[in-house]
Each structure stands twice: as structure tokens, then as C-alpha cells.
């Protein structure tokens, strides 16, 4: 055994991921019925919930349509943009 030994200590730090919001923004082109249809198709929401979110988009200019882990949020944003909805991704506060 040598005179000097090296002590290696590892420390695990675990932190919860910050949730991310999937946000649909209003635009003058997409029809309200289409927005509702896309929300039911992409998220599996029932028509009532999808309609409430669509009305939020229409009246308030935006609606948080889903919140959760980043990877899944990115998937949903890609799906919604693929349906031509004006969709963004933002950190949940």
C-alpha cells in the first residue's frame, strides 16, 4: 500500500425534470372545427375537452393543451405542427 491513497467519492444528485407546456396559438386560418378535430386525434381527448381548449385558443389567443415531460411534449408539438396548428413549446412555471 502506498503512502498516499486516492479517495474517490461519488455523489448522486437527483432533480425532477421541469415540465413543459405544449401551447396552441390562435391564427386567422385554422377553422375551429378543425382545431377540435386535431386535438381529439393527437391527444385522444373527448370532443368536449377538445372544444373547451379550442375555445380558449380562439378567445384568449392561446391554450396550454398538454403539460409533461420534454420528450413527449416535443412529439406532440411535431404532431400539431404537422397538422399546421401554430404550436410552441415552453417551460411550465
Amino acid at each position: 500500500m502506498s503512502d498516499t491513497d486516492t479517495l474517490i467519492q461519488t455523489e448522486e444528485v437527483t432533480s425532477l425534470d421541469v415540465p413543459w407546456n405544449v401551447v396552441v396559438n390562435d391564427d386567422p386560418v385554422n377553422l375551429m372545427g378543425y382545431v377540435t378535430l386535431v386535438l381529439t386525434k393527437v391527444f385522444g381527448y373527448d370532443e368536449k375537452k377538445a372544444s373547451i381548449l379550442m375555445i380558449q385558443v380562439h378567445r384568449q389567443g392561446r391554450s396550454i393543451v398538454w403539460t409533461g415531460e420534454r420528450e413527449k411534449a416535443e412529439f406532440y408539438v411535431q404532431q400539431l405542427q404537422g397538422h399546421q396548428l401554430k404550436t410552441t413549446l415552453e417551460k411550465s412555471q
Binding site: 391564427d27 386567422p28 416535443e74 408539438v77 404537422g82 399546421q84 410552441t88 417551460k91
Partner: protein, 164 residues
């Protein structure tokens, strides 16, 4: 006109009507504005990974939009060929409805990007610019077809019920 199979049939009366249908693809591919996929990509902030989005996701979006336009463009050209450029029908079946809706939407989004018509209730055609007026009428026509597709073709249980 809705069909018994749950689709939609558009009857053209002359060559000009085919020209209007062809304009769906022309409008959607408007080269004077950034393409739709790029505009979608630009919506993501740097914090949300906008740079990676442009690099990895936008090309997929672009390809998807392009494929839908190509499918609709081919359907229109095929119908024109069958009708020998004269009066004739074109069918939008249920399994083709999303590409059709998408193509019409791409055209309307491109027209909106270029002319900024705004929400339907506030549209103004001041100045009587004939190019803008024509674009507005096309946008209204595309929107009318989209409404028919939504009402009669898209979504569940739109096909007529079969008798047992």
C-alpha cells in the same frame, strides 16, 4: 356534393374551374414567402430548442407538407386528364381527406402570410387591388371546400349508416 361513400364530389363546368383547383398547389408553393415548415420551426424559442428543431424536425415537416401537395396535385391532374380538360368531376374520398384538407390549408396559410387578410370578420379589400381580390376569393373558395370536408367527410360516423 357529398357522396354515398362518405366522400365529396366536386363538379367542374369548364377548363377555368380546373385552373382554380390547380391554384391550390400554386398558392401553397408561393415562393415569395418562407415555406410553411420554416415558419412553424421559427415558432420555437432558443430555450425550447429552436435551433435543433430547424435542423431535425423542420425537414420532416417540409417533406410531409410536400407529399400531401403532390398527392392532391396528382389527383387534380388525373381528373383533368380523364375529363379531357372539359367539364367533369373530381372525388375526394374519406381516405384522401386529410391530404386534401392539408393542401387547402397550406394554400390559405400562404395567402394569409402574403396578404394578411386577418380574421374573417375583419377582412377588408380596400384599394381594390385585383391581385389581392383574386387571392381573397381563392382563399374563400378553399375555405368553403374545407367547411364541406369538415361537415361531411372528416371525423367519425360521417359515412351514411348501412342498413343491417
Amino acid at each position: 356534393m357529398p357522396t354515398l361513400e362518405g366522400g365529396l364530389r366536386i363538379d367542374t363546368e369548364n377548363f377555368n374551374d380546373w385552373g382554380i383547383l390547380r391554384s391550390i398547389v400554386v398558392d401553397a408553393n408561393d415562393a415569395t414567402t418562407h415555406d410553411l415548415a420554416s415558419r412553424m420551426g421559427a415558432l420555437l424559442s432558443e430555450e425550447a430548442g429552436g435551433e435543433d428543431w430547424q435542423e431535425y424536425i423542420v425537414p420532416d415537416l417540409r417533406e410531409g407538407f410536400h407529399d400531401e401537395l403532390a398527392q392532391v396535385g396528382a389527383a387534380i391532374e388525373s381528373a383533368i386528364h380523364i375529363a379531357d380538360s372539359g367539364p367533369g368531376p373530381i372525388w375526394i374520398n374519406r381516405d384522401e381527406v386529410f391530404p386534401w384538407y392539408s393542401a387547402l390549408n397550406q394554400a390559405r396559410l400562404a395567402l394569409e402570410e402574403r396578404y394578411h387578410f386577418g380574421p374573417a370578420e375583419t377582412i377588408s379589400l380596400e384599394g381594390n387591388d385585383p391581385v389581392r381580390r383574386s387571392a381573397f376569393m381563392r382563399s374563400k373558395f378553399y375555405c368553403a371546400i374545407q367547411c364541406l370536408l369538415l361537415d361531411h367527410v372528416m371525423g367519425p360516423s360521417k359515412a351514411p349508416q348501412q342498413n343491417p
